[in-house]
Amino acid sequence: MSQVDLNMASSEIAATHKARLDTRGRQSFWSVVIIAPALSAVLLFFAGFGLANDSLLKLATINVIAGLGVGLFCGGTGILSLAHISFFGIGAYVASWFTIPPAIKGFLLPSMPFAIQQADWPLWLALVPAVAAAVLVGLLTGVVMRRLRDTAAVIASFGFLIISYLLFIGLKPLTNGKQSLYSIPRDALGWPLILVALVVALIVAYAAKASIAGRNAEATREDEQAARSIGIVSDNSILFLWVVSAAIMGLAGALFVHVVGVAAPSAFYLDKTFALIVMVIIGGYRSLTGAVVGAVIVTFAEEVFKKTEEFLGGFAGQELIGGIIMPQVFGLTALAFSVMILLVLYYRPDGIAGYKEVATLPWVQRRLDGWFGTANSNIAPAHYRVSETARLKTVDLHKSYGGFVAMSGTNLEVKAGQIVGLIGPNGAGKSTFINVITGNLFATSGSISLNDQDATLWSANKLAKSGMGRTFQNIRVFGSLTVLENVLTAVNVARPELGSVVAEDKARAWLHALNLDAVAQTSAEALAYGDQRRLEIARALALEPDFLLLDEPVAGMNHQETEALTALLRQVVADIGCGILLVEHDLPMVMALCDHIYVVNKGEQIADGTPAEIRADPVVIEAYIGQELDDPH
């Protein structure tokens, strides 16, 4: 690592452009600009060659909108949702309430309120209550979904799918049950409306993905503990994507029933859910581009399979070779989809379009040169100043599991501008201490105070927002996010008032300060080990913390890297004035760097003092270093 200069003069870097959007915003903007006409061209191509009729083309477009909804949630959170078709169904039913001719509604939905009975709205107006209903149900179900992760979230969403199906059948006054709602005006849906809806859905989905909450959801997907350590409230970002995607699904559903003309519960159940999953998996669930590609493929594949099924149906009951009788073929589409999904998962797990948005593909970027990768706008140096009165203090901190005492009576103090070391042999209770002080475990007794406030019960989020930055023993970066976005997530938490472009510049400044500018657009998982360590520090510093807690930062580093990091930490403390708590196994480094050292062993704090005092302390020598030295053998 070369010499680091946190106070680099800003005039060195000249502005090359005035961007209105940050990198991801620009990528999203161009993705919309590319996808909308490209999709239209594909549909026109099919129409021009007579391969598709009007309603199939409309269904394809609606499937794209639905695919965007599912893709937005599944891609952003990494949680497979099986419930999104419920929002699609809700949108479908609610829109139909307002567009079915009043004369028919009289006997179809006799117990509806008079106002709805009389409503004879144009479709574009009926979209409003449809989307609103989907959002409302999204908020209600989101209360549960925001709490759940992984398998539990998938199964809960499956539960919601079943519940909605049962209610679509059961709530006859609203849905007419299995008799379904019919006479839904099919001429109400013209191409102008459907194209406007498509563009709106594209913009909303990409804007959500590029938003702070969208990026926070991705950070949570990559590593929730790290996300919490920089103050991200993971639950809220998941809720956000859940509700936005529900709105898009509601829109798609409302349009859908006005193509097919009938709203039946079975249309919003397993088959359609599976079709949606197939779309996002085949296209590539990590990117919205993938969802669009998948939706187009699935729509036309579905049509081909249906035609094949009809063709085979003509042979049903006839004898084939060897006395085998051709069975009646049902559900060929589902069978073919199953095979397709298995093939994609075996051979191309990222999907056909991969995990990149269309505008981030290299060949697109080359054509849009000047909009991408232009790192150097007018960047102010990365800097902040910690108040000299900042204090981190623990009093009698104690943690036990049943009868086992993992840590007892830890009294530790870090002042602004100080580097404090915490050392101890393996199993001494260092990890327990870190987990308690960073808000991942509750202390059994004792207290933590941060700048004279009682922080004993604060969550990891709150601690992060209130001035405690940390790194992890086993590196935790947001692997698939770019290096720049890793830091940007922290900047957004520390400085919520900054606009997206300014925030990005600030993140770049932090990368520059830690000598990572060359890899700003690389994904974090592709970095070398030492670079990932520095990225963690950059991300923690971008939080502008009063105290930086480093958990074995030089583990696995060679001598030169350790020296460089030591120099960097000294510089950080000198320039910023923050306090550093260093938990480390590398004794020479701790001795060289720290102003004050605490020693723990077997859960107890056995000594504290300056490096010289610690070196001379007989208790420490006996417990920690001495055994081997004194051993006569």
Partner: protein, 295 residues
């Protein structure tokens, strides 16, 4: 009094069935980290096995063990064909694969057997009622309780007393370490699937004995509930699946007794809503892996 006993019998028989299903799901989850959505189709396979065996004149008591073994075999084949090529991928891809397998099987039943429900003749000793004084209890329910309790005890003995069971538990705790200690991964996974299939088969026999029919989507509803029971119980231990199964039985019986007949359609919806609301309070289930609350 008779109401109380009938209620208790209903709770135990339903709970036992769900616990069997949930345990099968949990055993596979403990090794591979995914819930097998095709688990319900193993029930259906067992059901069709029973149907065809009885059709060819095999006596009921002989047909039952063969049908159950068939479900175990189907589970092993499912792993070999669909899941093994994906070994080591994310649990999410395995879950999606199992979803696809389930749908494919469902379609195959429709095409090659029948989309309509097929009757399974239940022998007389399984239908009708036991009478204790003036209390009537369904025979099928009592037998369901006996069989599921016996199966659970047998499974417990298998897991704690035999080499195979200990290997399975070791692998469930830490698969990597177990492999280093010389446990054959393929074999352990095969055994786990065979066990889960057999448990699903037993559940299927209990299920069919009370309903007397088999159809392509037969396994779907009980499986969905078992899936949720596993989550409710907590994914980290088989005990969780047991608790979840019986809690589900309790809930369902309660709604069955409390809800008037005209709302019977909403029973499943009410049960599911209750279960999901429970998840909100305890996202990691009853037996949570991390006993520490998140701060």
């Amino acid at each position: 009094m008779d109401q109380v006993i009938q209620f208790a019998v209903s709770v135990l028989s339903l709970g036992g069935t769900y616990a069997l299903l949930a345990l099968g799901l949990a055993i596979v989850f403990s090794l591979l980290g995914f819930l097998n959505f095709a688990h319900g189709d193993l029930m259906t396979i067992c059901g069709y096995g029973l149907y065809f065996l009885l059709l060819t004149g095999v006596p009921f008591l002989v047909a039952v063990p063969i049908a159950i073994a068939l479900a175990g075999l189907a589970a092993v084949l499912m792993e070999r064909i669909a899941f093994r090529p994906l070994r080591g991928r994310s649990p999410m891809s395995l879950l999606i694969t199992s979803f696809a397998v389930s749908l494919a099987l469902h379609v195959c039943f429709q095409i090659f057997i029948s989309p309509k429900s097929k009757p399974v003749p239940i022998p007389n000793f399984l239908s009708g009622y036991f009478t204790f004084g003036d209390i009537y209890v369904s025979k099928a329910q009592i037998i369901a309780i006996v069989i599921s309790v016996a199966a659970l005890l047998l499974l417990n003995a298998l897991l704690t007393r035999t080499r195979m069971g200990i290997a399975l538990r070791a692998s469930a705790t830490d698969f990597d370490v177990a492999r280093i200690m010389g446990i054959n991964a393929n074999k352990v996974i095969m055994i786990a699937f065979a066990l889960s299939g057999i448990l699903a088969g037993i559940a299927a026999v209990i299920w069919i004995a009370q309903r007397g029919a088999v159809y392509p989507a037969m396994g779907l509803t009980p499986m969905i509930k078992a899936l949720i029971a596993v989550i409710i119980g907590g994914l980290s231990s088989p005990k969780g699946a047991l608790y979840g199964g019986f809690l589900l039985g309790l809930l369902e019986s309660t709604f069955l007794f409390v809800l008037p007949d005209e709302f019977v359609l909403y029973r499943d919806a009410a049960v599911l809503i209750a279960l999901i609301s429970f998840l909100m309070l305890r996202p990691n289930g009853i037996v949570a892996r991390n006993a520490e609350p998140m701060r």
